[in-house]
Amino acid sequence: MIRIFLTAVAVVVAIGAPFVVTDLYFQQVMVIFGIYAIFAVALDILFGFLGVHSFGHAAFFGGGAYVCGILMETYGVSFGLSLVAATVLSALLGLLVAIPALRMRGIYFAITTLFCAEVVRLIVTNVPSVTRGTMGLTTPLPSFPGVPYGYENLGFYYLTFAVLALSCFLLERFRRSPLGRSFIAIRENEQLAASVGVPVFRIKFYAFGVSGGLAGLAGAIYAPFIGIISPDLLSPTYSAMGMLMVVVGGFGTIYGAIFGAFMFSVVTEIFRAAAELRMIIFSALLIAAIIFMPRGVLTPLIDYLRRPSRREPAVLDVNRKDEA
């Protein structure tokens, strides 16, 4: 009941927000928040559900941005088609990275993903004929059906939040299904999950594809919204940004990731004047989160609200049984 109520409130707020907040600047901040949230949710599929810690998700975010940008700018492909192409290609890139990375464990896995992303960044940097290299690629402003010229922010806003809402809806459904529970089983104990028949490698492999595709979609919306993209988008900074959002927000709950994205975009804007100081603040935030709230800000709260039932504690039961 609470769930339905909260969902309804969120939907109404999300639809109404751009009419209340008419300031272009704040609208832009909201779109950026939405894009970051999609990126964070994509990362949470791996971090939170599977316990797979990808350090190279900028490859998919930036990759999606470049695919969309190149298609629109160089080939004049429509925005909608470019989004689809960016998603599919990022998903394929995800699968490609997964093949070597998933054979590694722990820190080696992290290093492999990190360097796969670096490979993508170097390729993009060094083929200026296609990507314009370090000069950056400008992307045309798309037109949205039904949105008058000059109000593109609204188009981006609704597109972003529709994608975010749909992915949250599907993931939440998935998380509470038997299939989703097997995902969690992998995170909890891989060997045990395999012993009950869960095809661990295959699930991780496909999850990498889905996560990469969703991150790519976020990037594909980002590119024409910002208007110019550079290989920086593929740098470890952006991978770290995603991890920061997921870790600070709290992984495994979807909402935690969104909350992390919210905090990140708000803090970014507050400290826009002090760009260098920003990273220091984020680092401090991350360290504080890891020490004081290893499960993130939101996850413990959600867990508390979700506790199945607050019956008598198990320990009492034990005593009773032993006496009997």
């Binding site: 599907l170 459904r173 998935f174 299904s177 038997p178 299939l179 989703g180 529970r181 097997s182 969690i184 089983a185 909890e188 104990n189 060997q191 045990l192 999950a193 395999a194 012993s195 009950v196 028949g197 869960v198 095809p199 661990v200 199945p308 039932s309 019956r311 504690p313 198990a314 039961d317 034990v318 049984k321």
Partner: protein, 262 residues
């Protein structure tokens, strides 16, 4: 007569060490087989080879006359082979109920599409899944703590939960690695009762165990390993009197029995 399970001459070498040396044995449906031997005899290796965690160097393993040699664990689980682990291995951060649900992967046959669309086949499978989970919880007698997190439950409960997780796959053959280790006498007796109940339910069981009381009281047949070789096989009565078994456990008569007791 065809057996439920057969191992033919399985050999497993680790570098120079021969952990298993041409071990063969079989299992008939509804049997409880004990696998015993002193420490380092190759019992755990034998388990890992059967479940596919390790590939045998040579030999052949058949379940229901199908070759399962070298299949990875998730596939042997598909074939109807489940195992419990030596230490309490459960999904720590999930509740007891969620533990069993997560283990029921093989029981729910709905795909991703049906899951996301909540089709009627998804809903009906969800209901049947709930019944199976309830059944398993009753079987392992943990229904009263189903909503407690596994982390923090008493040891005896966790061992039963480990068995429950294995039951989630609906196995034909259940391998249990030292299921009674660390249990007090009451809990051991309860465990034996549970094992018999599972057998009556149609599950064939292999137990690796050090607790001789449990093994002798529970098993229909016992296979004894020593230094990777099968040195004896037979009913508990026969094994108890087998001179080679006594020697491997207690040493020769003039040796100090105390030092060899594992």
């Amino acid at each position: 007569m065809t057996h439920l399970f057969q191992a033919f001459d399985i050999t497993k070498k680790f570098a120079g060490l021969v952990a298993l040396d041409q071990v063969s044995f079989h299992l008939d449906e509804g049997e409880i087989l004990g696998l015993i031997g002193p420490n380092g005899a190759g019992k755990s290796t034998c388990f890992n080879v059967i479940t596919g965690t390790l590939k045998p160097t040579s030999g052949r393993i058949e379940l229901r006359e199908q070759d399962i040699t070298g299949m990875p664990p998730y596939l042997t689980a598909h074939m109807g082979l489940a195992r419990t682990f030596q230490h309490t291995t459960v999904f720590q951060h999930l509740t007891v109920r969620e533990n069993i649900e997560a283990a029921c992967w093989l029981r729910s046959k709905v795909g991703l599409g049906c899951t996301l669309l909540r089709t009627s086949s998804y809903r009906s499978s969800e209901i049947s899944l709930k019944t199976s989970v309830d059944d398993i919880l009753s079987m392992i007698d943990l229904r009263h703590v189903q909503d407690s997190r596994a982390k923090g439950l008493p040891y005896g409960y966790l061992r039963r939960l480990g068995i429950g997780i294995a039951l989630g796959t609906n196995p034909a053959l259940l391998l249990m690695d030292e299921p009674a280790a660390g249990l007090n006498p009451t809990e051991s007796a309860e465990f034996s009762k549970l094992a018999r109940r599972l057998r009556d339910f149609g599950i064939t069981i292999v137990i690796v165990e050090h607790d001789m009381k449990v093994i002798m009281g529970l098993c229909d047949r016992i296979v004894v390993l020593n230094y990777g070789k099968k040195i004896a096989e037979g009913s508990p009565g026969v094994i108890r009197r087998d001179p080679q078994v006594i020697e491997s456990y207690l040493g020769k008569s003039h040796d100090e029995a105390e030092t060899a007791r594992a």
